[in-house]
């Protein structure tokens, strides 16, 4: 009945089961870890007041969010346990974080009226509001209308801030762009020896017009700045340090200790939205990652536009047209193997061939006026997309070929027997049937491209791109610009940031976003592939 455990080799079976179990535990716990750390970042935690008596007898009041607890290795928790508080107020304390020894804490309490103010500069403020100056009038915290006025001041400042942003990005950005274009026009005329007085005068005139317009706008902007500086709020920290915060410096203010659970969930989603749709602040350690998302998406779209037709054509050629022999088989294996070539090699190739050679030649031919500043002769969006298209080409080719080979011969023969030409057969029957396979290939390519960082470090990404590659200035898409990328953002903020500790939650959030996107893409691809397999399984019999 029962075989001997060791003799039958049963222990090896368990051993193997353990291997796959460990692998699964690793994947799941990794994703869970990223998810927990990334998602908890947005939750408005309660703010506590810690009263401490230091070892030398001095009293200290600290207030902040409990961030972490730690017992130094091997120490007695009762004596050495430490807690990490996020106390904010970087402009007053110098650091956002403070370690407290648990044994020194004499009292922990929670005050209902704690105000957390998220600022554009200097990070969060934790403290209490005392007085708000709104429209020239002072409202004390005891006034009935205080919170209403406070909120009005913030809303107004945010509105003005948005206006300024729009002006800067929109009209003023456009004028700067046009001025730059005029400068290049003049340089081009000079280079081509066509710089007649007439042409120069025309350019000068247009330049003057733009400059006038610019001054008007600038004056308008300064006026708005002045307006934005009208309101301010007087606050005080827990240890009694007073501070005046300008309303224009406030992103949002909240009282987490008063918020109900539902309000907190609401606030959570506001923060998530801010993360996705806002621009980064404070050297990428706060705010959102919108430019990185935008850059990633933009690059992936451009890459898809390039990789799909070429990949499909190559696959169709290999599978339908090329004579099946030694050469085709070799090519097939070679293409397959290109998928295994390290991505950094593609980066090296992209930098040397696309950026320096092709880009340099394009600059020489079409943009002599911009020299010595390179236009296409430097890393940018176009070269990054092409490099990644080359990198993902094997994925699309292999996947499409697999799809083509799964279509039964009978279908092709049926079409040909009815008098259709080869291309008609391809176009009307084979390709539509293989389209899910192409889709799978494309999705896998996108997933790979979205997560690839190493080649991009050579051919296009930067830590902070001042302008998006897409804007309102003709020709609207600026392929030569540098861009931000989610994967590189993780590397840069996580490893190159001056304030790694403060940036870490945001890096986890970014990582989670990236993982989520890539997992979703992959699961879609897997689903499509499985459905395709099922579909043709029935056809084969």
């Amino acid at each position: 009945m029962r075989e001997k455990f060791f003799k039958s080799g049963e222990h090896w079976v368990w051993f193997n089961a353990g291997a796959i179990a460990i692998s699964i535990i690793m994947v799941v716990s990794l994703i869970a870890l990223i998810a927990i750390r990334g998602l908890s970042h947005f939750w408005p935690a309660n703010v506590h007041v810690y009263q401490t008596q230091l070892d030398n007898g001095t009293q200290q009041l600290s207030m902040g969010e409990l961030y972490d607890e730690e017992v130094p290795k091997g120490a007695d928790p009762a004596v050495e346990k430490q807690i990490l508080l996020k106390v904010g107020n970087r402009d007053l304390y110098g650091l956002d974080f403070r370690w407290l020894k648990a044994r020194n804490i004499t009292d922990v309490s929670m005050r209902e009226d704690v105000m957390v103010i998220e600022r554009r500069e200097w990070g969060n403020f934790y403290g209490f509001v005392e007085n708000v100056r709104f429209d020239g009038k002072n409202y004390s915290v005891n006034d009935e209308t205080f919170y209403e006025k406070f909120q009005m001041a913030i809303d107004r400042a945010n509105e003005l801030h948005d206006t300024v942003k729009d002006l800067e990005k929109g009209d003023i950005g456009s004028i700067n762009y046009q001025l730059e274009q005029l400068r290049l026009d003049r340089r081009r005329l000079e280079l081509e020896n066509e710089a007649t007085d007439e042409a120069l005068a025309d350019i000068a005139q247009r330049e003057q017009a733009l400059k006038d317009e610019f001054e008007v706008l600038q004056a308008e902007m300064f006026a708005i700045y002045d307006k934005a500086n009208r309101d301010s709020v007087d606050v005080v920290t827990i240890d009694g340090k007073p501070l005046t915060i300008k309303a224009s410096n406030i992103v949002m203010a909240l009282q987490p200790n008063q918020m109900s659970w539902i309000e907190k969930v609401g606030h959570y989603f506001i923060k998530v939205a801010e993360f996705i749709f806002d621009e980064p602040r404070e050297a990428n350690t706060e705010g959102g990652v919108f430019p990185a998302i935008f850059g990633t998406v933009m690059m992936v779209i451009l890459m898809s536009i390039m990789v799909t037709p070429f990949g499909v054509v190559a696959a169709v050629y290999l599978h339908e047209y090329a004579k099946q022999g030694f050469l085709t088989r070799t090519i097939r294996i070679a293409v397959n193997n290109l998928a295994g070539v390290p991505s950094i090699v593609y980066g090296v190739f992209g930098l040397g061939f696309f950026v320096y050679f092709l880009g340099g030649s394009i600059d020489e031919l079409f943009y002599p006026e911009a020299k010595p500043a390179p236009t296409f002769g430097t890393s940018g969006l176009l070269w990054a997309s092409i490099t990644l298209a080359l990198l993902t080409l094997p994925v699309v080719i292999v996947s499409t070929e697999e799809g083509l080979s799964r279509i039964p011969k009978s279908i092709r023969e049926g079409s040909l027997a009815l008098g259709a030409t080869k291309v008609e057969t391809l176009w009307r029957t084979v390709l539509p049937m293989a389209s899910p396979a192409m889709m799978t290939g494309l999705i896998l390519a996108i997933a790979r491209a979205a997560g690839e960082v190493a080649p991009l470090m050579l051919v296009g990404v930067v830590k902070l791109a001042p302008t998006l590659p897409l804007d309102g200035n003709a020709p609207f898409i600026h392929l030569e610009r540098k861009f931000m990328h989610l994967g590189f953002h993780i590397y840069d903020v996580g490893f190159q940031s001056p304030n790694v500790e403060a940036a870490r939650p945001l890096v986890y959030a970014t990582a989670f976003l990236l993982v989520l996107v890539i997992i979703l893409l992959n699961i879609t691809a897997i689903k499509i592939r499985n459905r395709l397999r099922e579909k043709y399984k029935s056809l084969e019999h």
């Binding site: 080799g9 089961a17 291997a19 091997g74 193997n337 090296v348 080409l393 490893f495």
Partner: protein, 757 residues
């Protein structure tokens, strides 16, 4: 039945009608043309895509290729400019203007390409005074020190001013006196030999009147606050008896060393200490009967290049010995010719040099790479011939017969050679030959160290530890999934592994560097306990499960063992981490890291163990998928036959399935290795990226790929550094391509073999 036949006929008729109509209307031909065009189009498209991919290989090769090219020289022109009687001659940076200084103090400038006279400049000397010795004190600043017949020294600066009238470069030569026109009295008699060293703050000069008496003066440079004028304040004035005749007198640019060398080969070296020259050592540079014919400093003034009458050029530099004193050592010898070396001329921006021998043979050499880049026999030279090269090293002038020969040089990458890239090289100031990668530094006279060995070592080290971690997990996991696992669980496991494969490596690297590395440092004993106890407990649990009452045992069907083990593994891991500190206290005095260091094992937080786990994580799914596929596709009737003969499932697996699938598993490992070798982001983030050669698992490494990512953006296009990085990329490309092709071939063979079974 009849209906159907009728319908068939009508359809046939209609098709025929349609075809006839098409033929009449020309639509048929149009379709044919369309078909042909599509065929051509697709063929062209397909082939060009494949060509584009092939181009990667050839482009990399194209960039790498110039490394292996040797130098070329091209004769430009010979023109009558006699430099034989001049005390100093040379060219400015661009090699456009040549200059010579005659003993009477007249600088004359000529076009270095045509020999046309440009201008002259007369130095203000006392009546009857002549220039008896001239040396560059600093090539970078074009500072020249002159020794005069009156025993006076004079410092002059050659200024070559650039202007761009009409967009064309124009160079105007001029002479400046940065330390005034008066000069300084050094000797009573004429100065025969002189050498000077100038740094930001100091100027030191050694001079000799041709006898054994050496005069050493050292000044501090004091810049006046109001004007930019620099005055010299004397720190030391010393007279030394060198005991050997000062045929060659050399003072290194930092002012720390002075060498007196006689043509018989004796050398006396001095070391500067507290502004004073102290005798360091006396040795002989040659064997008997061999004369020294020229001595020059290599760029930077660390190495001496000694040419002798046997036709060899030796490179010597001081090396610190066990007693912490510097001794000159013969580092390498260039066996140039059979004839005595006539003159040596070092390049001004690289560690290369040129030499002429007694048979008028020109040689171009590079010290670090120990490479003779070019030898060429010149014509129309005399025994007095000399040569010079501009600081961009693309233009040589050689004198002879009252004429100058102007030669163009193309010598882009003398610093790279097989031995420089893959061999042990004795770099300047290093105690012994080493494999070192250090591509750049802040100083201009830096000796670039381009050894790919530490990088390749790092790459293999990272791949080794990754495979050590990944291979057992992936292969065992694949065996279980393909052979034992319940189909329902398999449909859940496979997508999980595919998701694992898709995880961006930047995230794995980030987690490894910022989370895993510190956690592991804190729980080192726990990690090792996990390695030890997890297998034991897994088997123990299996044993216990095997002898469970059948009620419990049968509540879980066969093939779900892996799911059962998940809580066990979690529990054991947690316990290991919990007991980490107590064990550490018990066995390692409370801190394993300190304990390791006391055992002489260095510990970096971001070490190979972290990389091994993180990169193993990335490699597991690759190996798993292919190996699982190979095992799963072993024909069922093989296993059924074995089972029917009474073998247990495990015996069947080991004796039948695995041998059949082994080529597939092998190819999975190859492809996994390829991935581990080329992985960039994980290594970049999870190690300290120091190019060291230590097999120690607790230290980091720098891999070829990470090195490219770090250094490529800063490397100058077309420089040796740039091409070496391309070479690294090329090596990676070829390595992974060969491995993958091998693996793929094996897999195909396997598929064909068992497809027929």
């Amino acid at each position: 039945m009849n209906d159907l036949n009728n319908e068939y006929d009508t359809v046939k008729d209609r098709v025929r009608q349609l075809l006839d109509k098409q033929t009449d209307s020309g639509h048929h031909t149009f379709r044919k043309i369309k078909d042909l065009a599509a065929k051509q189009g697709i063929a062209i498209g397909g082939i060009s895509v494949i060509l584009a991919v092939v181009m990667i290989f050839f482009y990399l090769l194209y960039v790498v290729f110039p490394i292996f090219k040797s130098a070329e020289i091209l004769e430009q022109k010979t023109y009558p400019v006699a430099v034989e009687s001049s005390v100093l001659w040379g060219m400015e940076e661009y090699g456009e203007i040549g200059f010579q200084l005659k003993a009477d103090g007249v600088f004359s400038y000529f076009d270095a390409l045509t020999g046309d006279n440009l201008s002259t400049h007369t130095l203000s000397l006392e009546p009857g005074e002549t220039v008896t010795a001239a040396q560059f004190a600093s090539h970078e600043e074009n500072l020249v020190i002159l020794g005069l017949s009156s025993g006076r020294i004079l410092l002059i600066k050659q200024a070559f001013r650039l202007s761009y009238p009409d967009g064309v470069r124009k160079i105007t030569p001029d002479i400046e006196y940065p330390f005034g026109q008066d000069g300084y009295e050094l000797h009573d008699g004429p100065i025969k030999k002189i050498s000077a060293a100038k740094s930001e703050e100091y100027l030191s000069i050694i001079a000799s009147d041709g006898d054994k008496t050496i005069r050493y003066v050292r000044y501090m440079l004091e810049e006046s606050f109001l004007t930019d004028e620099v005055t010299l304040s004397e720190l030391n004035d010393q007279t030394i008896d060198s005991e050997i005749s000062a045929d060659y007198l050399l003072h290194d640019p930092t002012g720390s060393w002075a060498y007196v060398i006689s043509s018989k080969g004796e050398l006396q070296s001095y070391w500067m200490e507290d502004d004073e020259l102290v005798s360091n050592e006396r040795l002989s540079l040659t064997t008997q009967n061999v004369q020294i014919t020229d001595v020059k400093f290599l760029l930077g003034g660390i190495s001496l290049l000694v040419g002798d009458s046997k036709g060899d050029i030796h490179q010597w530099f001081p090396v610190r010995d066990e007693t912490n004193t510097y001794r000159l050592q013969n580092i390498r010898t260039f066996e140039f010719s059979e004839h005595p070396i006539k003159t040596i001329y070092p390049e001004m921006r690289r560690k290369g040099f040129l030499a002429l021998d007694g048979n008028n043979q020109l040689g171009i050499f590079y010290a670090t790479s120990h490479r003779t880049v070019l030898t060429h026999t010149m014509e129309n030279l005399t025994p007095e011939s000399e040569l010079t090269i501009n600081s961009r090293a693309n233009h040589i002038l050689i004198s002879g017969n009252g004429q100058l020969q102007s030669w163009q040089v193309e010598n882009e990458h003398p610093d790279l050679s097989w031995s420089a890239l893959w061999g042990e090289v004795w770099y300047e100031s290093y105690p012994e030959p080493q494999f070192t990668w250090q591509s750049s530094a802040s100083t201009t006279d830096f000796e670039a160290k381009f050894s790919l060995v530490p990088l390749s070592f790092g790459t293999l080290k990272a791949a080794f530890y990754a495979m050590l971690f990944a291979m057992p997990l992936a292969i065992c996991g694949a065996i279980f999934t393909a052979y034992f696992m319940a189909p329902k669980m398999r449909t859940m496991v496979k997508p999980t592994v595919e998701v694992m494969e898709a995880l961006p490596t930047v995230i794995l690297g980030f987690m490894a560097g910022l989370w895993l590395a510190p956690v592991m440092e804190d729980n080192l004993p726990g990690v090792f306990m996990m390695l030890m106890f997890l297998p034991i407990f897994i088997v123990a649990f299996g044993f216990a499960w095997h002898y469970m009452p059948s009620v419990i045992k049968h509540s879980i069907p066969d093939g779900w063992q892996a799911a059962l083990l998940i809580p066990v593994i979690l529990l054991v891991s947690w316990l290991c981490l919990e007991f980490s500190y107590p064990i550490e206290k018990l066995l390692f005095d409370g801190d394993m890291r300190v304990w390791l260091e006391s055992m002489g094992i260095d510990y970096d937080q971001r070490n190979s163990l972290v990389v091994g786990i993180a990169m193993g994580f990335a490699v597991i799914p690759t190996i798993f998928s292919i190996a699982e596929d190979a095992i799963f596709s072993v024909p069922r009737h093989l296993t059924n036959g074995s089972l029917a003969l009474g073998a247990s499932t495990w015996q069947t697996l080991v004796r039948v399935v695995l041998p059949t699938a082994s080529p597939g598993i092998f190819s999975a490992v190859m492809i996994g290795l390829g991935r581990a070798v080329g992985e960039t982001m994980i290594v970049l983030m999870a190690t300290g990226n120091t190019p060291i050669m230590e097999a120690n698992i607790f230290e980091g490494m720098r891999t070829l790929s990470a090195n490219i990512a770090v250094e490529m953006p800063e490397s100058e296009v077309g420089s040796s550094h740039y091409r070496v990085l391309f070479l690294a990329g090329f090596v990676l490309f070829v390595f992974t391509f060969v491995f993958n092709t091998l693996a793929e071939n094996i897999r195909h063979r396997l598929r064909r073999k068992y497809g027929s079974l």
